[in-house]
Symmetry: D2
Subunit: 263 residues, 4 copies
């Protein structure tokens, strides 16, 4: 039916999930199952570091291998990288280790805000695209940067709704809507989602998918929130396709008032 | 599982639907089916007027009679009434004609805005409750009026999100949240919903259900929008129960940055 | 020039101030002077209670007596009253003690939220108007209640922007704008103002004046905030009269681009 | 008193004005006088083109020469430039023609949205700073770009509130607040202001000044709107310095309720 295609790969689910910050690994796997997500992102830095995370890849493969669509797709990310050089190197290690050219490209210009550095991001995107990667850059809600990333060959653009981990929702819906209206590649809302209505809103604004992590992993009940997000993304997508009613500043009767009684 | 109970009656679906303004009756029935709604509202005035609408009740009964839960519940409404007296009389005619004591009580103080008249509404609620009705008053987003309606015996309160038919969403989320936090009876968000994320938001604020009409009937594709609303209400309800993450004004890394590369 | 007239009395300043919660009386007087306000509200209950407050009236008279316009006007209020009966009695005591028929009518339906009780408010308004009072009722942002208050003879209506003392600004600008567009009497935004831009916004929405208290008395520097509020009210009023530019969803060049260089 | 200093030059007024789009030149001069502005921006491209605009500089000098502070300061801008190269050339022509090293640097990445191109902007800033210019770059509401501009030697940063000429106000107040909290140089809100409360809000968020054009030139009464903006900027600045009251989700009595009557 309504398949999202990025770089030639089809997704039935338009919800992408992160793997960090869960109470434990089982909750993460249960949340992943409840979300229906077919693509998860994980930090390369963490993987290369410790045994726990190295096995995360195996765990994901085993846990999702039996699904109809096969194992969940991996979207390694370059979280923590501060320069294009560092991000490119991280991506290359990732491709070697995980045998996937897909990369969620994060190049951060501020350690506190985790806000993208546009210059470094564009540089790294160009280099990685030229090196054969499928690049999904995490960027700010800047329509010009989004267009330049697409022009450089990014497979999708991933503008932020709000600062990473803030849960503040979409701070500038007009910017996101503008980006979606003009983007030649899929727009994936990344960062800022705090609750289900935020995810629905992203889709209504025209996003092709939503990527989130903390909103699920730090909910009181991550598994239930994952299911909520699944439904919210579906609802927002359907509402967008259904074509919402126009807003009216003043009221209009929905129940016609033609009756005899009391008139 | 998660049953909503109003006046002793259980509802699996927390989405109530109106019946006005559809392109035609079949679209209305298809939207109703797609919504999963178990309760629909319809204007008494219209029913008492014309043959078409009289049969609306029969049509609904026939179309939904085969469902597992039996035919869809009817919530007749007093749309168009301007005084308590008129609304009470309309409700009594409704009970006689439709053989249900349920009534969505609308007493409007302004024909353009379709905004409730609080004095008349309280008066009519008291009278109808005393007369054995199950009263669901449509009211403004006023916590004191909501509490008084509950004290008078209303089975639920139905504050507006925005003017009827405006599709402007929930104009004052803080008021709705306050009402929900204090209400001894279920709160049903009524009026103002324009798209799916609005419905999800209502549930996240603590509403027990959502009633809407124009957002579905005037969507470009009412049936698809009805399905969107079904999912949005489910998503908002689950998100509320899951306990959302706290908002943070500043960013926090969701991908721990402990790696070796480039540090 | 641009005089506000309420019940035949003209005001050059469209900012009304409360007298509660200041660090001390001198700060209150300095803030009052800085605000340029010509009308202050004070709680009758407090006045009738203690010597300090009884003298508040004298203090205000002495401190403002030398102004060009004469002493500041007093707008006693019925804060703390929960019923029409109580409010009417308080107003009568106020008129006797302070020799003014002006009364800011507060009838509260919830001790925590300090939210108006519409039924009691309408009742008290009717009674006090009939008894010759100049009634300025504090009400919710409900266009029907506002119209009924005006119909009963209220000299102005004073809808809330947000809960008293919350400083949350105007939670439902559309409601305030609707009230202003339809009101036959001046609309005074009362409660909810937290900072200067809130006050400017109220005036831009069409309010005739703003009444505030906590935003000044609980600012770190009340006197400077009072001056800010004075300017903000003037700015909002002028902006309203100047007729703002239309909003456009997309950008338009403000600097024409007709040049030779690089084109 | 409260002087704003940019690149060693002091400004009593924190409102900067544009010169485009007025009904006629006299209205522009009257608005300028009413605004109290000490710095006006004008497009180089236009100036170099036609006699009218060449004389604009003379007109401004003559009209404002008699002021206490001397003639109004000129802030030529590079509106319409799409590349760093073009902007640098335009700035150099400007310096030669107008004998000022001050330049409002606009490098646009989208002709419709007039949205900055971050890469080109950074490049041009570096070049112009090295060439001795006083550079005030118009940028997006991106804290990393703002910091990099300051690091490169920009005298101030000028993030947008919304698209140029849209009058949509500040779409992302949290971003502006974050930029202000971290900026080592003055932050001037540029673009998006539609009415007085927007300007006050910008100052409350921590901006050092506001630059606007269309909000005044396209108001129904530009001169009155200019005065409104002057007061709004003063109000927002004072409110910021006064330290606003904290917001509270629930109400608190501002009039203590200690009375005898009815209790």
């Amino acid at each position: 039916g309504d398949l999202l295609v990025i770089a030639g790969r089809g997704f039935s689910s338009r919800l992408f999930l992160g793997t960090a910050g869960y109470p434990n690994q089982q909750v993460m796997l249960d949340a992943l199952a409840a979300s229906g997500s077919e693509l998860v992102t994980l930090a390369i830095r963490r993987i290369s570091l410790d045994g726990y995370s190295e096995s995360l890849v195996d765990v994901l493969a085993r846990a999702t291998g039996g699904r109809a669509g096969g194992p969940v797709g991996l979207l390694p990310n370059t979280a923590g990288c501060l320069t294009a050089k560092e991000a490119v190197l991280t991506a290359q290690l990732s491709r070697e280790a995980l045998e996937t050219p897909w990369i969620k490209l994060e190049v951060i210009g501020d350690r506190d805000l985790l806000y993208p550095d546009v210059e470094e991001l564009l540089r790294a995107t160009e280099e990685l695209v030229n090196d054969g990667f499928v690049v999904l850059p995490y960027c700010n809600d800047d329509p010009v940067t989004c267009r330049k990333l697409a022009d450089l060959g990014a497979a999708a653009v991933m503008p932020l709704g709000a600062f990473i981990g803030s849960g503040m929702g979409i701070r500038n819906p007009h910017a996101i809507e503008t980006i979606c209206a003009r983007s030649p590649v899929p727009v994936v809302l990344d960062a800022g989602i705090g609750t289900a209505s935020d995810a629905a809103r992203a889709m209504e604004l025209g996003c092709s998918a939503v990527l989130l992590n903390t909103a699920v992993s730090k909910a009181r009940d991550p598994v239930r929130m994952a299911a909520a997000m699944r439904d919210a993304v579906a609802a927002g997508r359907a509402a967008r396709q259904a074509g919402r009613m126009p807003m009216r500043a003043f009221a209009e009767p929905s129940s016609p008032q033609l009756g005899l009684i009391g008139s």
